[in-house]
Symmetry: C2
Amino acid sequence: MSVVTEGRTLTAKGAATRARIVAVAARLVYENGVAGTSLEQVRDAAGISNSQLYHYFDDKQALVRAVIRHNTEAVLGADDASVTRLDSFVALEAWRDAVVANQRRQHGVGGCPLGSLVGELADVDDSARRELDESFRRWSDAIAVGLTSMRERGLLRADADPARLALAVLASLQGGLVLTQTRHSPEPLEVALDGAIALIRSHAT
Amino acid sequence: MSVVTEGRTLTAKGAATRARIVAVAARLVYENGVAGTSLEQVRDAAGISNSQLYHYFDDKQALVRAVIRHNTEAVLGADDASVTRLDSFVALEAWRDAVVANQRRQHGVGGCPLGSLVGELADVDDSARRELDESFRRWSDAIAVGLTSMRERGLLRADADPARLALAVLASLQGGLVLTQTRHSPEPLEVALDGAIALIRSHAT
């Protein structure tokens, strides 16, 4: 059994090792930022050798891209961000409550696993920037699926634009997380998401 | 003539030198991030000695706090962010057009001089986090001043909450900038600010 990842053919065991390295790197990057995470730290924390590390990743940029993809799957697959099911006002409000509760649990520390990387990476690593852009596009597309369903089912007026509303929701989420991470309080996120839901509601039939 | 800055009494010449160092540091941090900017680079770019640098700043954290204050004055004083005058829908739309045009000119590069520092600093430098929090509070307070005036003049209903609306506007701006910096396009920012203004408009009389 083999798995093709990023142009490399890996055995099942190799794929598992690679996944473990990426998970370790994602944790270190979340805690210390990209600049604050060295390949040596990833190697030591994953308990592997240099040659193993370079067997899977050409360089730090390649590992960072893998971390972004890993975080994207985590965000889009998380229970509290099950954006594909945001197809009613009840679902939207439950989602808001879940992401706010999550921030309350972690006292506003950490920010978005994707958004918190933008300031550090977007202008200095174009491959990371494009990877993050792809992740945000998938994210807003997923939000738009639910809003499109709401429009089709007559919950939103015909003039509601699901793609634009989804982008506005994602912006409110990202900005709310920036302010919540700065204030160490979930309040700004809650206010931002309340605003986003009120915006959607202003298009209700 | 002397100036007291951060507990240090400086001559006018000293204050000018300090301001020059901070401006150089702010530019380097904006281009390369905090981790990507060393005190040695700031020293060399400002054309000063180590002893001069340490005369004004105890350490890198102190310089970073000064950069945040410098960027706060730049943001709150900028023509296109003259938030204290956001006291009508015409003013809000002109502000949106100005900040979007600004991002269009710079092709979405750079992000917010304050917001783009959050991901890198908030969880690893608590003094910087508190400085950024103070800046965002001043920013949303300034936006709230205009919205309060709109409510007093009967443009917004009595049930409009200027403080909450201002925080939602700031979140939309910050999140819009995160997405615009990632996409290298002003579009997400424009959609986010359109959403914020529509939210305010939903409270119009």
